[in-house]
Amino acid sequence: MIIMDYVLDYSEINKSFLNRVGGKNANLGEMINKGIRIPPGFAVTTDSYLLFLDRAGIGKEIFKLLAGIDLSKNVMLNDISAQVREMIAAYSVPAEVEEEVLKRYELLCEKCGDKETPVAVRSSATAEDLPTASFAGQQDTYLWVRGKEEVIDAVRRCWASLFTSRAISYRANNNFPHDKVLISVGVQKMVNARSAGVLFTINPSTGDPSQVIIEGSWGLGEAVVSGNVNPDYFMVDKILKDIHCRKIACKTIECLPCSEGRGVEEIDIDPERQTVPCLEDKEIIELVTISRLIEDHYGYPQDIEWAIEKDLPFPENIFILQNRPETVWSQKKRENLLEKKSSRDLLLERATKIIRL
């Protein structure tokens, strides 16, 4: 008999679980087992999703519908996407899955001392965060979700988000068969972010592997990821840990939890905070240190989302929310930047060089 794990704690997960927890969750499992601080939580496995499709008996129909899509017809794509998502919304989450999820959620609530601990519920598809295709942002994420019913609902909505128009077309354009892509869901304690953003362990614009680029802004990282705010920019030499370029942006809005603590909203930032750097130097250096551990662990450049928790002291306030391979430069075949040259050749080259001003 195959033992079905509908839910797995992150500590039980590693990268060999990709098919069962998706790329994002598998990476988070790797992180926690490497001793890197991530928000506590668990993954709802693809087994849960498959069981759901099986119980509802809608799998075949869904894929038949998708097979008939003509991508050039936008209206058709949108219609079928809506139809599929309605089908998913019409069925409830299987009882054994619901039971497992709620058990883990209650444990998390107990640990956090809040019966309605706010969580982030994130999709984690099996074709995602691959070195070849990021699938970044193709499926949904729900932030500041509180309470049992809402958690279950968010899980189901994540499943449905596998069939948004953009997810469908992204798969089709990248030649991923729809029925081979499964979805898992991550449920993690919500970081009450003072600042958040993205970090690259390579300069994505030049491909320089000695630099770490950090972009961040006030509040949740969604404002940075969505491009709704000009983030602060820091370039750090990953070996010397010198912050040798900083561009502090004028940050006008931040993404914060709604006043009742459910869901998020974008709020204007007070003028005096707009040009204050969203990170302290020691936080930047700590982020770089962590990012190097992650990069060394995988052996190739990483794209990392991070957040700084408002209510915790340094360095316990630094959380890694997700990481994935950097896609642009890891795709390029690293050609020789220099040719094989003796120092004689190089010297002559330099000596004959004229620098244009």
Binding site: T206, Q211, H244, N336, L338, S343, L347, E349, T352, L357
Partner: protein
């Protein structure tokens, strides 16, 4: 070839822009250092910029000798000796007591080709035989320094030659008049020869550095300049020896409690030495100190370029204060020595870590080919500095003071140091006037040298309050000369910044730029220290602003929040020591000590090489 960026025309600038208080400045320098009619056409098409690295302050006439000597030596090593293909020499002009230099535009194509062949044949021998060549170089320079030091200067021009110098024997056949003439001429010859030696391997060293710089930038396009210099810089270089010797002396004194107590007193060095002579351990300590004074106390308290900076050997209060400071730190159980091994290990680790990021095997091989040769010869850049600019210059300054003292005693100038108010072509005239007057008999008038010296001091003071244009003439569209690139950092950005700032008054400046020598940000109160003697005014947590630093300032750097200097590039000692102490620093600003005042609230950005004056002191 000129770009469309145009700075003031040099001839017009000299005619119209020099403040009236500087009137007479042009008499202070040899005529071929002035812009003028004879070479007007050529002068107008070249680009001239203020040399803030070697000459950020108004130039006392005799101190110009180093500049005069290097114009020839640097340039010939590029053009005639190692034949760096497209590069020509660096020309000088004086404008209102400030030195402007010019990297002359490349020669015709056929010359470049000719030179390229010669260059290939000549450029590798030094790095392949570096250790041996360095030993030979050092022996040569030390011998020359010995020669300079040994030049005999008569104590005075005596009323009558003492009998024993006349008969019975040995009568030299010449008198102190000739000795004075000869002394100066010999000293000048030594100085010119020393500066010939100075550049023996320096042009190549800079080229090798730039070669490695290019390689590193190709592999790591965003790597900072300071990261590259950190990979190359050595820990055990002659420039750090004086400080190291002080640490040893301090350790020794620490083992002799009585000597230690004397050395920790607040008293002048002379007084302490008198006391130390009174007991055995003190005597032993003094002997040790005497033994290493030569050469290690021949280190300038500044950059070595100006006579008034002084050196430890003639300002013993300075090393004695450092020793006091070290003894106090030893009492507290702190380590005082620089950890050479750790520094070298850290550097090697750094190089290993960067090289690990290189994914292609071929690239890594090329990287190390460049790195290893660069490291080998780069030692020259670090080691020659102590021996020429510090040791050799110290001997020179002392010799000049000896000569100056004779002239002052004879009454032509007020004090020995006034000799520095006359350039190296004028001093022979001064000496001849003096010796002639002495020879001719009683009360023979001389020219008014003393008056002239006073006037020139006033001109120099006035020049210190004037900010000349950072550049003159048409900005070039290209540059090939290695020193211009590496040392003076002439880049498009720099030229643009100069264009922006041509007319700003010093007290209106709110931001100054230099080299991003040591990363980090710091905000704090400035303490401007124009001389090493003022180091004890520095309070912990202040930002040190000074003309230049050398390793002898290291004890201070451990106490400051940040450091800013007028002189020095990325590989200057201020930069190296700052990086070791993790103190943010900006070097080579050219104007920090004149623009910033003690008490100003300033912000030092060691990442970008900027200093912002946030609030002026009241």
């Amino acid at each position: 070839m000129a770009s469309d960026k145009q700075f003031p025309d040099p001839h017009q600038y000299v005619a119209e822009e020099i403040p009236p208080e500087l009137e007479g400045w042009e008499e202070m320098y040899p005529p071929h250092f002035l812009f003028g009619e004879d070479r007007k056409d050529w002068e107008k098409k070249e680009f001239w910029y203020l040399d803030k690295i070697h000459a950020p302050y108004p130039m006392p006439p005799l101190d110009q000798i180093f500049q005069q000597a290097w114009q020839i030596s640097l340039s010939q090593h590029t053009t005639r000796i190692f034949c760096i293909p497209p590069a020509q020499g660096v020309a000088h002009r004086m404008v209102g007591c400030y030195q402007y230099i010019c990297a002359i535009e490349p020669p015709p194509e056929e010359i470049i080709k000719e030179k390229a062949e010669l260059f290939q044949a000549r450029a590798h021998y030094p790095v392949e035989n570096y250790e041996q060549l360095w030993q030979e170089w050092l022996t040569r320079l030390q011998a020359l320094g010995g020669e300079l030091e040994a030049i005999y200067v008569p104590e005075e021009l005596p009323k009558y030659l003492p009998a024993e110098d006349v008969f019975p024997n040995p009568f030299k056949g010449y008198a102190p008049s000739y000795e004075l003439i000869e002394a100066f001429d010999q000293a000048v010859n030594c100085m010119y020869k020393g500066w010939q030696y100075h550049f023996n391997y320096l042009n190549l060293t800079y080229l090798y550095y730039l070669m490695f710089f290019d390689v590193a930038k190709k592999l790591f396009p965003d790597i900072s300049d300071s990261a590259i210099s950190k990979m190359v810089a050595g820990a055990e270089v002659s420039m750090f020896r004086p400080e190291e010797e002080l640490c040893k002396l301090s350790r020794l004194a620490h083992a002799y409690p009585r000597a230690s107590d004397v050395l920790k007193k607040e008293a002048p060095a002379a007084e302490k030495m008198e006391e130390l002579k009174k007991f055995d351990e003190g005597k032993r300590w003094l002997q040790e100190m005497e033994a290493l004074k030569k050469p290690w106390f021949y280190i300038s308290c500044g950059s070595g370029w100006y006579h008034y900076e002084g050196s430890w050997i003639n300002k013993l209060d300075i090393p004695f204060n450092y020793i006091k400071n070290y003894l106090e730190r030893l009492d507290r159980g702190e380590r005082i020595e620089r950890a050479y091994e750790e520094i070298s290990e850290a550097r090697d680790k750094l190089v290993a870590e960067y090289s690990k990021l290189i994914t292609s095997e071929e690239d890594r091989t090329t990287f190390f080919n460049a790195y290893n040769d660069c490291r080998t010869i780069y030692k020259y850049a670090e080691d020659h500095l102590f021996w020429v600019e510090h040791w050799f210059h110290t001997i020179w300054f002392d010799k000049m003071r000896e000569i100056g003292a004779v002239i002052a005693k004879f009454g032509a100038i007020r004090e020995a140091d006034d000799i520095f108010m006359f350039n190296r072509l004028e001093v022979p005239t001064l000496i001849e006037d003096v010796t002639t007057s002495w020879s001719l008999g009683e009360d023979i008038p001389m020219m008014k040298w003393s008056e002239k010296a006073e006037k020139r001091k006033k001109i120099l003071d006035a020049a210190a309050n004037w900010s000349p244009s950072p550049a003159l003439g048409p900005a070039p569209s290209e540059v090939a000369e290695p020193f211009t690139v590496m040392l003076w950092g002439v880049t498009t950005d720099k030229v643009d910044e100069w264009l922006k700032g041509t007319t700003v008054e010093p007290d209106k400046v709110t931001e100054i730029k230099g080299f991003a020598a040591s990363a980090g940000l710091a905000e704090g109160v400035a303490r401007v220290l124009k001389k090493a003697e003022h180091l004890d005014e520095l309070e912990a947590g202040e930002i040190m602003v000074c003309p230049s630093t050398n390793p002898s300032w290291a004890p201070a750097l451990s106490r400051v929040k940040a450091a800013v200097t007028d002189i020095g590039g990325l590989t200057s000692h201020a930069a190296i020591v700052s990086r070791e102490y993790g103190v943010p620093s900006v070097t080579g600003t050219g104007i920090a000590t004149s623009v910033i005042k003690t008490g100003d609230l300033i912000k030092v950005n060691g990442d970008e090489g900027t200093v912002e004056i946030i609030k002026k002191a009241d």
